[in-house]
Subunit: 149 residues, 2 copies
DNA sequence: GGAATTTAGTTTCAATTGCAACCATTTTAG
DNA sequence: CTAAAATGGTTGCAATTGAAACTAAATTCC
């Protein structure tokens, strides 16, 4: 047992495997969106959330996208400049902006969602429905384990 | 079914969940290594592989660390400058360097491995042994699905 | 044997990111 | 009511990263 304790087989190390898997998937999706629509991962996360919850504020996006406020600020600025997102000053709280998709943003959003779902299906293509449920439940347990790391 | 097709619930979207999970885990580990030993994720991956396979070349590291050669170059340069890594010119091929840990690097390596394993155990703490096997086999299947994405 | 190609690794420059400081507004507390 | 603290969001600067170009050595192919 001596050997096993002080070596580490990187390709069996779960954090490493998660990282490689996650990066492969994210990069593939990002490549597709980037090429077709000029969207980064950050931008498309923001679009996904604003599309689903119109009139969110930037602060509300931080929790729903797992991005920090600097990243939100930059992503929203770029999306606005690309014409995909509109900001409207909030009169109740003049620090806030209410964010929503423009016409064009909506159109992109409608195209993006099926592509995203397609990637997810591709990822799960070899899993039977029960296995997909199982995988998601294991994910859920991992997520709750690390939630306050 | 109309609604479900054109919205996307980000927090249920597997690529997003993988990304958040992986980043949380990696950042926690990186924080620990960074604080104690001045190691980035890249540096510690390199150390892990060089520790296990002494006298690797940089090119050999690229496949074993899932890092590109620029990242390897920078990580090895920094590790050398920190005194953790030695490069030795290879006489058979003068473009190559044979990489190995210094005394000090070995010492750090021996401290690092248990910490890494500890994080992995913590991640898997709520899983029974059979569940851990199951999780790894599901991971394996996801990995082979995306291997050529 | 020598020109053309490939491979190992580094460097450069631009783009991205992370952190702290910042401004403006709103909320809290005395 | 006002000073202090907290919140929403942006900016500036340094560090990190990515892509392409580069040097040097090795290999291929005629």
């Amino acid at each position: 047992m001596l050997e096993e304790d002080h070596i580490l087989i990187l390709e069996d190390f779960l954090p490493y495997r998660l990282s490689v898997l996650s990066n492969t998937v994210s990069n593939a999706i990002a490549e597709s969106y980037g090429r077709e629509f000029g969207l980064s991962i950050a931008s498309w996360r923001v679009m996904a959330v604003v599309g689903r919850f119109p009139n969110s504020s930037a602060a509300q996006l931080t929790s729903k996208t797992a991005m920090d406020k600097v990243a939100i600020s930059r992503a929203t600025a770029k999306l606005e400049q690309q014409g995909y997102l509109q900001r409207q000053a909030d009169n109740d709280d003049k620090r806030r902006f209410s964010l929503s998709l423009s016409q064009e943003g909506q159109a992109i959003y409608q195209k993006i969602i099926p592509i995203a779902k397609h990637y997810e299906s591709r990822l799960l293509q070899d899993f039977a429905p029960e296995e997909q449920v199982l995988l998601k439940s294991l994910m859920q347990r991992l997520e709750s384990t690390v939630v306050d790391w």
